[in-house]
């Protein structure tokens, strides 16, 4: 196991800047998830840690070693690919043994390690099968088994669950998390799915356009997004945003709707800003802002209501079941203590 340090790493393909100066510190044994929309550079960054992509500038350290010029095979890492990348001409046992055989490990050791990995992942019955005879979830497990037998310093996962169906994805999510808690190997995991990031990570790195937007624990990002991008990217359904300006004790939207604020950040006073509130922080309340109901989506445990406020659709997530219909007018109110304010130009957070 080892810590991974990424210091001012950049990557250019010709004139395209894919990664534009990224710094991330990953502690020994930590489970870190790189998350962001497609094209944000997260997979490229992972492949740079793996050694599959060269580093244009900056430095990547695994343990105490700078690995910029170390070939993948000498980095002591294991990687799980999105499409599993199992060797189709080898059975499960041989797939897992491949790296050990290349290292000329003694037969008895190979066997012990394979059996251990197979037990951990519940693959003992499948050791003689070929990849084509396995289901998607089983293939994914074999791919993880191939990583485990090597007992590497770092596990790298490149969107490992995106080829699985929704139900299997949820159970594999729990399995990977459990695996990490048992093995305590440093893990870097790439996904575009923010729910995966929220549920699995100890630390999330939100990336966008080749830079890091914010690094932090899942709930920290949720409760204190550093900027508008993180605020909208993390959370489902995503945060409601309204443009307008800040006045003393209130926020006035472009359409003139007045929304109370708990504290007015002095620097924001009179400036154009963006008001953000999470759907679950909105409540039905007689003294709230009136709006016309556009959509009602009951899920059983909660009800999602889309209301038109100031000409914009605003999503409310209500815990209770409500007797309202499309076209009704209801009043919603945000808890002023849970409101976020962002700078309209830079997108930076204005509230503490």
């Amino acid at each position: 196991m080892a810590a991974v340090q990424i210091a001012d790493v950049r990557k250019t393909f010709g004139t395209t800047h894919v990664i534009r100066g990224v710094d991330v510190d990953i502690e020994d044994g930590e489970f870190v998830i790189l998350v962001g929309p497609s094209g944000c550079g997260k997979s490229t960054l992972l492949r740079m840690i793996a050694g599959l992509e060269s580093i244009t500038s900056g430095e990547i350290r695994i343990g105490n070693r700078v690995v910029n010029d170390v070939p993948p095979k000498d980095r002591d890492i294991a990687m799980v690919f999105q499409n599993y990348a199992l060797y189709p001409h080898m059975n499960v046992a041989d797939n897992m043994a491949f790296s050990l055989k290349l290292k000329n490990a003694p037969k008895s050791e190979i066997e012990t390690r394979i059996n251990r990995a197979a037990t951990i992942l519940g693959l003992t019955e499948l050791l003689d099968r070929y990849p084509r005879q396995l289901s998607g979830g089983q293939r994914q497990r074999v791919a993880m088994g191939r990583a485990i037998v090597r007992d590497p310093q770092v596990f790298l996962f490149d969107e490992p669950l995106s080829n699985l169906d929704a139900k299997l994805r949820v159970s594999m999510r729990a399995e990977i998390k459990d695996l990490h808690q048992r093995l305590k190997t440093t893990t870097v995991y790439v996904t575009h799915d923010q729910i995966e990031a929220m549920t699995m990570a100890e630390k999330i790195v939100v990336m966008h356009d080749g830079i890091v937007e914010q690094i932090g624990a899942p709930l920290e990002l949720y409760d204190h997004p550093a900027n508008l991008f993180v605020a909208c990217f993390i959370g489902s359904p995503s945060m409601n945003v309204l443009k307008g300006r800040v006045e003393l004790g209130e926020f006035i939207t472009a359409g003139g709707v007045r929304l109370p604020l708990e504290k007015t950040p002095p620097s924001a006073l009179g400036k154009p800003a963006v008001y953000g509130v999470r759907p679950e922080h909105l409540k039905l309340s007689a003294d709230g802002v009136p709006g016309k109901v556009l959509v009602i989506e009951p899920t059983g445990s909660e009800t999602q209501v889309v209301v038109e406020v100031d000409g914009q659709p605003i999503t409310c997530l209500l815990r209770e079941r409500v007797a309202i219909q499309r076209g009704d007018t209801i009043s919603v109110r945000a808890d002023p203590a849970l409101v976020h304010l962002f700078d309209a130009e830079t997108g930076k957070r204005l509230t503490d």
């Binding site: 050694g51 095979k73 990687m79 499409n83 990348a85 491949f98 290349l102 191939r146 090597r150």
Partner: protein
């Protein structure tokens, strides 16, 4: 079945017969010729199935003309040319596919398209100067012009369809380039190797022009030997057809046996995952 359906089916059968008949009738006539006596072969109107079968056409092929020697020559030339073709062509195809070296692929294609006669004469002089003409080497070497491009082009198609992630996984698993090629890329491309093997055998086995120029009496391959049967004696259709069939037979068996793989191999490059 309605009448329209029956007509449609009959139409299809007729169309298929029309298209296939040149190849089929030619073949049937060859078989017929090979089992008839000369008198029947010259008869008019032509006889398809004779009253008396002339099996001796076949036995005489083996008895005369050093047929077994030529058979052996053909096997050595085709076998060696195919073997060298695979040894050179499979890694070359891999390299071209992985490095995306389309230009080199086209150059190889041009080598294949150049008419053989244009370089046969200079090569003849070179082989003469090297004093190699009495051996099978000139033919083996020149048959590489046939086998290497076939192998390379088929293998490019195969290696291009192998997912790159497999090789990246092997790279991370600790394999070097050579090990990736030997232990991952090549085993996966096995069907492609089989197809290129078969096609290169067929093309090399049937090659005629190179043999005519480069072979001496002892180093003839079968197609050349048959040609010589035509020129030395009067045209004796029976033995000629029998010899031609015997020459075709190994290739024919190979083709029928591997038909499915050949079709799969020829389309592999065209349709991803096809």
């Amino acid at each position: 079945m309605s009448l329209a359906k029956i007509f449609r089916k009959l139409g299809l059968v007729f169309a298929v017969f029309l298209i296939v008949s040149p190849a089929l009738l030619f073949f049937i006539w060859m078989v017929s010729l090979s089992v008839k006596f000369e008198i029947d072969n010259g008869a008019y109107p032509p006889i398809l199935i004779p009253e008396h079968f002339a099996w001796k056409n076949y036995t005489s092929v083996f008895e005369s003309n050093n047929f077994l020697l030529y058979f052996k020559n053909s096997i050595i030339v085709t076998g060696a040319a195919t073997l060298f073709g695979l040894i050179v062509g499979v890694p070359a195809g891999y390299g071209i596919a992985r490095m995306n070296a389309q230009k080199s692929a086209i150059i190889i294609m041009i080598a294949r398209m150049t008419p053989g006669l244009s370089f046969l004469i200079p090569l003849f002089l070179i082989f003469k100067g090297l004093d190699m003409l009495g051996t099978l080497w000139p033919q083996i070497i020149i048959h590489l012009v046939v086998t290497v491009p076939i192998v390379i082009w088929i293998m490019i198609g195969y290696f291009e369809t192998t997912p790159i992630e497999l090789e990246e996984a092997a790279m991370i698993d600790g394999a070097n380039r050579w090990q990736i090629f030997m232990k991952v890329a090549m085993p996966i491309a096995k069907p492609g190797i089989v197809v290129s093997f078969i096609l290169s055998v067929i093309f090399s086995w049937n090659n005629f022009v190179f043999g005519v120029v480069l072979a001496s009496r002892e180093t003839r391959t079968l197609p050349v030997a048959i040609y010589n049967m035509l020129s030395f004696e009067q045209v004796s259709w029976g033995p000629l057809a029998a010899a031609a069939l015997i020459v075709t037979l190994p290739v024919l068996i190979l083709t029928v046996a591997a038909q499915r793989q050949i079709v799969a191999g020829l389309t592999a490059g065209a349709v991803k995952g096809g």
